[in-house]
Amino acid sequence: MEKMLTGYDAVAEAVKACNPDVIPAYPITPQTDIVEKISEMVADGELTSEYVRVDSEFNAASTALGASAAGARIFTATCSQGLKLMSEPLFSASGMRLPLVLGIANRSLSAPLSIWGDHTDTFAERDGGMIQFYAEDVQEAMDNIALAYRVAEDKEISLPALSCLDGFILTHVQEKVDAFTEKEIKEFLPERDPVHTLDPSDPTTMGAYARPEHWTETRYEVHKAVKRAKDKIGEAVEDFADIFDREYGLEHSGLVETYRSEDADVIIVALGSVCGTIRYVIDEYRDKGEKVGLVRPRVYRPFPKEELNKVLEDAEAIAVMEKDVSLGYQGGLAIDLKSSLYSNGTMIPVLNYIVGLAGRDVTKDNIRKVVEETKDVRGKDPRDVEEEERWEPLRDELLSGDKDD
């Protein structure tokens, strides 16, 4: 049924429909409203999940891990510093092949302290063996929860999944959502059927000590499972489209969505909500007859290498606009994308723009400037394009010296 929902309401509704067994929760802005809403649902008897109030995010993730080991379906939510506290048990959960679904209201990391949003928190978990979905709008934030359960709990995957939505920009916006119910989602999402469970009558050890002669192979199996998730996401997105008539990058295994990029000379690559604003700027350029398009990875891990290479191979220049930076080098998405393209022999210049950190607004003027600069490098050999810092915008008056130092 279509109704007006905030992002946090929509995530809570999705969780209610997916009906987890255990929800360990700890609040952190701007995620708090998700677990608050869920606690109301539990208190009102709408949701029968075991709601566990814990004393920290470390405990929330640890409780989630333990309950998942016992075979339960799990939900928790967090962001920012909270995700850092969860990081240790989350790495363990992937190593132990335990499915967990987390709602992440993306937010920056201290210091300086900021409650506003960017992708620094989840990018820092990149290497932990977690599937990472990024939503562009509230509808997708809701739908990704169901997709995350379906893939994370698949016996061939069995991993944690982070379902990310931009803090405030998506958690606190209210817009039209076609909300699914528990009854409707049952056709799409089967009950969890765990491979192994902790059971006193049939004892097993999970996450045991591994010596060097075993550890590498264990890690290799996790790596393969994360990569296998690509196909599983593709299947899940197809089934979802059949049942709910909503499509997420069906032609690209549900991993990548495109907008007016088929014949585009200049393509912007970006994650999450900023893509909505980029669409308006692309329409402006298209109205002038200029071929500008958008490519939006919906999933960052597993990295959609083949899918991105395919939709970008005919571009003349690419701009990656991202809300994270690997300090001391470049933005994480640009690093991965360049490796993906250039190892494939696709020599298109990629300009890396760091934007929207800690809630700084990304305006249409910012995006227009990115397009104009990217137009200038069309058709060039990437080795002939100077690697300069492109933080859009950077307030020179606040810097200690030359920004290109």
Binding site: E175, G359, T363
Partner: protein, 177 residues
């Protein structure tokens, strides 16, 4: 696309008002987006909330810089905050005030509509909670949401007798504007 900025103070329900206007636009068959100014809210401090209304899907996630409509919930904000900032000269400003428009110390070229929403709220609710009355004024002067849709949303937001009284406040403001 019509962009609306609401100026109020923490505790006056600016975010609830944005939510009600967005829902009423949705009920009127339009696409809508409502959102607060992101960050920390404090009781009594100036606060903003935003609404976008369009006939097509709204995907713009940037902030509102050039509103078509500005709503001022508290006239004392006019001295403190640049409520006219970016307002389109063909736009509309709706101010909750008992004063005449000419006495408001505004320089905007936009049409300014004064409505004594606080007084209307006191009459119907016995409390100076003027949001629903301002919603009525908004519906009338902008035509962006239907009165019936506005009433439906108010009844959903405030249940029972309180909802009915708020609908009456909304309707009176609609009539007098």
């Amino acid at each position: 696309m019509e962009q609306i900025r609401i100026h109020g103070r923490g505790g006056q329900g600016s975010v609830t008002m944005a939510s009600m206007l967005a829902k009423a636009a949705f009920e009127s068959g339009k696409e809508a987006q409502g959102f607060p100014s992101f960050g920390v809210e404090r009781l009594g401090a100036p606060i903003e909330a935003f609404v976008r209304i369009d006939d097509r899907e709204i995907t713009d996630r940037s902030q509102v810089y050039e509103p078509d409509i500005v709503i001022v919930q508290d006239p004392t904000l006019i001295e403190l905050v640049d409520v006219e900032e970016g307002l389109d000269e063909d736009g509309i400003m709706v101010v909750n005030t008992s004063e005449d428009v000419d006495d408001l110390n505004l320089e905007t070229e936009a049409e300014v509509v004064a409505v004594d929403a606080t007084n209307i709220a006191l009459e119907h609710l016995g409390k100076p909670i003027m949001n629903t009355a301002l919603c009525g004024a908004f519906a009338k002067v902008t035509g962006l949401v239907e009165k019936g849709s506005m009433a439906k949303v108010i009844e959903e937001t405030f249940e029972g007798e309180i909802g009915e009284k708020n609908v009456k406040a909304m309707e009176e403001a609609y009539e007098v504007c």
